[in-house]
Symmetry: C5
Subunit: 351 residues, 5 copies
Amino acid sequence: MSTEVHKTIGLVPGTAIYTGEKKDTKVTLEVFDYTKAHIEEREIDTIAEVSGLLEDNSVTWLNINGLNDTKKIEEIGKYCKLHPLIIEDIVHTQQRPKVEDYEDYIFVVFKMLYFDEENKFKAEHLSLVVSHGWVISFQEADGDVFDPIRSRLRNDKGRIRSMGADYLFYALMDAVVDNYFVIIETMGEKITTIEDVLFEQQTDMDYVAEIQGLKKEILKIRRAVFPVRELVSKLEKSEHKIISDKTQFYLRDLYDHTIHVSENIEIYRDMILGLMDMYMTTLSNKMNEVMKVLTIIATIFIPLTFLAGIYGMNFTNIPELQNPNGYFIFWGVIVVVCTILIYFFRRKKWL
Amino acid sequence: MSTEVHKTIGLVPGTAIYTGEKKDTKVTLEVFDYTKAHIEEREIDTIAEVSGLLEDNSVTWLNINGLNDTKKIEEIGKYCKLHPLIIEDIVHTQQRPKVEDYEDYIFVVFKMLYFDEENKFKAEHLSLVVSHGWVISFQEADGDVFDPIRSRLRNDKGRIRSMGADYLFYALMDAVVDNYFVIIETMGEKITTIEDVLFEQQTDMDYVAEIQGLKKEILKIRRAVFPVRELVSKLEKSEHKIISDKTQFYLRDLYDHTIHVSENIEIYRDMILGLMDMYMTTLSNKMNEVMKVLTIIATIFIPLTFLAGIYGMNFTNIPELQNPNGYFIFWGVIVVVCTILIYFFRRKKWL
Amino acid sequence: MSTEVHKTIGLVPGTAIYTGEKKDTKVTLEVFDYTKAHIEEREIDTIAEVSGLLEDNSVTWLNINGLNDTKKIEEIGKYCKLHPLIIEDIVHTQQRPKVEDYEDYIFVVFKMLYFDEENKFKAEHLSLVVSHGWVISFQEADGDVFDPIRSRLRNDKGRIRSMGADYLFYALMDAVVDNYFVIIETMGEKITTIEDVLFEQQTDMDYVAEIQGLKKEILKIRRAVFPVRELVSKLEKSEHKIISDKTQFYLRDLYDHTIHVSENIEIYRDMILGLMDMYMTTLSNKMNEVMKVLTIIATIFIPLTFLAGIYGMNFTNIPELQNPNGYFIFWGVIVVVCTILIYFFRRKKWL
Amino acid sequence: MSTEVHKTIGLVPGTAIYTGEKKDTKVTLEVFDYTKAHIEEREIDTIAEVSGLLEDNSVTWLNINGLNDTKKIEEIGKYCKLHPLIIEDIVHTQQRPKVEDYEDYIFVVFKMLYFDEENKFKAEHLSLVVSHGWVISFQEADGDVFDPIRSRLRNDKGRIRSMGADYLFYALMDAVVDNYFVIIETMGEKITTIEDVLFEQQTDMDYVAEIQGLKKEILKIRRAVFPVRELVSKLEKSEHKIISDKTQFYLRDLYDHTIHVSENIEIYRDMILGLMDMYMTTLSNKMNEVMKVLTIIATIFIPLTFLAGIYGMNFTNIPELQNPNGYFIFWGVIVVVCTILIYFFRRKKWL
Amino acid sequence: MSTEVHKTIGLVPGTAIYTGEKKDTKVTLEVFDYTKAHIEEREIDTIAEVSGLLEDNSVTWLNINGLNDTKKIEEIGKYCKLHPLIIEDIVHTQQRPKVEDYEDYIFVVFKMLYFDEENKFKAEHLSLVVSHGWVISFQEADGDVFDPIRSRLRNDKGRIRSMGADYLFYALMDAVVDNYFVIIETMGEKITTIEDVLFEQQTDMDYVAEIQGLKKEILKIRRAVFPVRELVSKLEKSEHKIISDKTQFYLRDLYDHTIHVSENIEIYRDMILGLMDMYMTTLSNKMNEVMKVLTIIATIFIPLTFLAGIYGMNFTNIPELQNPNGYFIFWGVIVVVCTILIYFFRRKKWL
């Protein structure tokens, strides 16, 4: 929980402090520069090497992996004339998703979601800046979801190479939102698994822990995804000069997808709440079964034990005891009593 | 659950990929062309055969069954000058209901709901495009709810033949929404059935599964129907040139129906949530009954067994044992104790 | 439940089909025609007999009882130049409450609520059409809530005779809404009755059925009343020429009443949900009591039985058995043990 | 419950019928007439005695105690030219709080809340009419919350004597709203009391009744207070000529107070709902404890009784019985078994 | 609870009454006067000593610690020409957070939150007044969260010295909101602690008390923080001449932080509600375990005791008793029965 919280208390506003967990990542810069006709791809060391690319007529995509080297990030920020508060937001990994319009560029910050190798939910911080002719993406670590876009760029697949930086910007966001569907699909499978286990009347306390875990995960996913919906809606309605009419159209489609994800999240939230009810029901069912066994045993044997106790008494004059067939009659009575009781339990559907 | 999720991750936006389950349906094209005076009805193989019909003064209804042959769908799309994103939505069966206004046509996508032979809830993807003088409907499989409209067209019943394509468009939507009433009626019956069973104190774990199933079904129905309400409301308020004032009026009526369906869905959702409570209550009631039986048996026989134990002791000097009527007095005491206990249970309303 | 649902699936929109249950009612037409100075009251057979009354300067109230004879209703509709969709709504008893403004008249449809002789909740369909100088009311069956208005008309009580058709229209609606108060009062009594029973720790399964019944009733009442609130609010704010400023004022008052009813409904809904909780609490309480009895009995007698068992053993050498006072000492021990246990139960507040 | 409901069904709208419970109050009229310089205070019998006071330059406050004499109220209404519907609202004690703007005056009706001697919640009906130079207050019974205002008037404390009738009007409302804080403070204490009792594991059914009672009280308070919030907000925003800019300012402050009260009510509502959960938890806890005692006793003594039963058998050849130390060995075994079981219960934290 | 409530009932509006708990604080006045070039810092005794500082071109920050000396506060208010209602709000510690625009200054009142030494949640009342060239802050007691700002002022760190009074005003609010993150972090830890304890199946009633305590704390935090969100939003959108465009920008950032805090509060609220469910589940689980132990013991030993009882009977003719190996056969039977039962329990997963 503690990592969810703001870590920059008491600092001057606008101070760039990396608040994430990947402190040792080597920051790398990857550049794509393309027009319909050509494409160039390389890795650079300092921002200065892009010189000329941002201003020319080609579209330039600068992808930065690793946010821990705040000095380098600040350098990039200065080179591209980004506002200091933006730099703070880029490295402040607890920042909630938002979009901000500036005169010359649009700044978007949101989350890339995934389940790590141990199947634990993770949210990675991701920022995009789009301007005329260039897009910069900042992400925490190397493994990203942009490979399909890289390959579309390299192979000139679809319309990406023939459109501007705003379409690239849309395509990057679309790749991330597409990934949200993977996340909710995994959630759906987790829910189904637990549901199946509960129907088989498993009631280990572990399942409570798992259900609680799911609840927290869906809350985190919700917190990461819901603001993205508003964000895309804002972008779609924004009339910023950078977003062309054609791209606006694709943003409408993207908005549709974020709604779809949000609806699924709400449904899963409902279902997870239902899981807890189911757990309680299963528990009560088991208790009922346990009690029935106890009651049946006790109801049959306690009266019989009483009867046996009677004929274990030492009264001087107990006529039945003298009867030579007394013992066998006694067993006969017991058989009759048992039969009646079993009939009674049958009628009550306890057996 | 998994089929609910987007299957086109990583694809170029605008790619037509059929995501439904009916992959082997043969795509068929059915054409109705009518004015007040005449009507023509035939099946065609390629879209080119409608040539001339779309442009003339008659109303043309083109109904396409089967969405799996995406190439054919794309052909139709191109012939009618539909936007590529529309084609994607037509075959993308997980698309949520929506309406989109274009310059020359209106595009609507929503769901046809039904229970299949095994009584499982199914949602079939359905798209409508309306323009001046023609309507195209795209549906996943053959069995549809448009037969009453076909017969009204053939027999010139009602005002359908004398009105334009927009009225046909309304009539098709109306047919689907009318069908929603059948769905919610079935849901109502399912709920009543389970309610009756629970009142008879049946508490098999199976009913929990069934209640959970109902909960999921109502969630799915809700997800299919609620956006239709907004969609119709948008259509009703839209001032698109294709929708005439007269039809606007009928759309208001349709909107009323969608509200009616939505209200019923909300009520059923409440009732299904109540079912789980009832199940728990029934369970607790049964437990109570079991416990009462146990307590009555134990409370009567445990003290009696103790008494019998007393006179089974081997102390050398137990005066009662020497009494020749001791045994009979003992039975007398037992009868008295039982009587008192039974009276006590009666007063507590346990018997 | 099933009667709640639309029964006109597959029909041409605008077809008048009576969907209610009172199929054998004889349709009767009752006419009141009045000015401040005179009043005339009679029953007529066909709509043609009102000829002249609608157009003159007096106010005419035409009350139709029985909706099953759709042909007659259609005739009336035609005579008064009502839109076909209105005729459909008048006889379609599942229509939800709504108001519709037309050029020359206002159409309102809503519900008259009552509990029948078996104390079951019923909603009767009621439509009003108001125009310049006349009001037509359509209701399903004879027994209505308009008697106070008839008597005010006859006796020239209040301001009703001196005001126009719009005031009559208001007065009719007011009579129905006034009746809603009777309904919610009855609901309040039903709730109090069950509450009292539950406090007396009655936990028969029947009460669950009754609580569920109340829940459904309040849902139905809610569905009938809530749209009326909006409807009156619309009327109040409408600037239709038929509603005079003076009547607007009374509509504001009526709106106030509908809010009052709605608030009560919400409160009762909360209370009914609380009843189920109370039922569960009562159940748990009873279980607790049962368990306490069992535990007290078992805790006292099981150890004593053990003790008695000890001295029933047949070891050759049990010194206590030889003691001539052994038996009496044994009883002494038992009394001491019982006293201690009872003290223990007292301290735990179980006795 | 029944007194909550409208009692004027079937009456002519605008009929003044007193619907409260204080039918025998003698109606009294109290007059304050003041300017900055002088103040006059007297009781009058008929409204005619105020003649001249309302029209002059001084501020006149007419306070009417008792609403049951509707004729007198109507007289006052006529004298001050109040609309008949206002008179109806003044005496109709079930009227919900509202404000109504008229040309020459503002009419406000709301509730004075208090707990009576038996600590039962009561709401008293209160109406205010403010015009140029005068305020009339109508209340059900004598005991009111206006004494601080009377004393401020008499002693010329604060700014009340130097300001107009609108400030007096504000001051009267403020006095009532201030009183709401007393009500919610009492509610807070009631909740804390029950909470403390529940933590001490008291689970008498009485507490359920008390919690239900609290729930109903908070619902009633809510219904009385929430409309006041809207009402004050309307007044604050109203631009009626009677309310001066200066007073507007104080109304803003009053609005703040009503929000404060409303927030507290919502919090208390949450807490009362939580009480029921706590009750159930306490109940379950007690049950758990009862079951533990039963299980410990049964688990220790049932096996021992079995052992004793073994050696009570009459087999001819039971070697242990012949052992002269058998009895003492038997006790040794029992001590060992008990020790083991107690260790086992300790480990399970049952002891 | 009681301290939450208004304590100024019946007083003249605008009366300054200190309603907090720190009645013995010595009121101190601390002055910072700075421009980019110089800074002066001193403590003063009376407000008159600031003479000249407020009017000059430097920014003056006057920080007042202690609100109990209302006379001194009133003096300051008069000196700075603050409205009497503001003075009332400054010392009225139950005042809810709000912002009020005046012609020459903006007044903000909100809460500083902290956990005291006993880890109990506390809210301290804090007011800010900002005008051209000066800010006054009023707080209840000495320990505040402004030290980072003092040090930034002294060391000319960040942009604070080069900006106006509005930026200082923002910086003070930012310091308080930053502190809210500490509060919610502590809440998060408290929740995790209880969650861990519950997973270890601890069900002491104490935890219920703790969960209830958390619930109340989160309600209080919510009440303190939520209005701050609106307040900052109002400030951000306000176009008051005192707030410069540059600072507006920082307020947008602050608004973002308040949203972040609010979201966390809502999530924690959900989690705390979930804790109660978990507690109940843990309780039920324990009960289940207890019942299983009881049932296993009873099911094994009750039938065996019956068997032993049989052979303790004194019938004259019980053939088995004569068998010299009878006793050993008896033990054999017992071992067989136990084995079967244990196998049965294993299959039911009770062992």
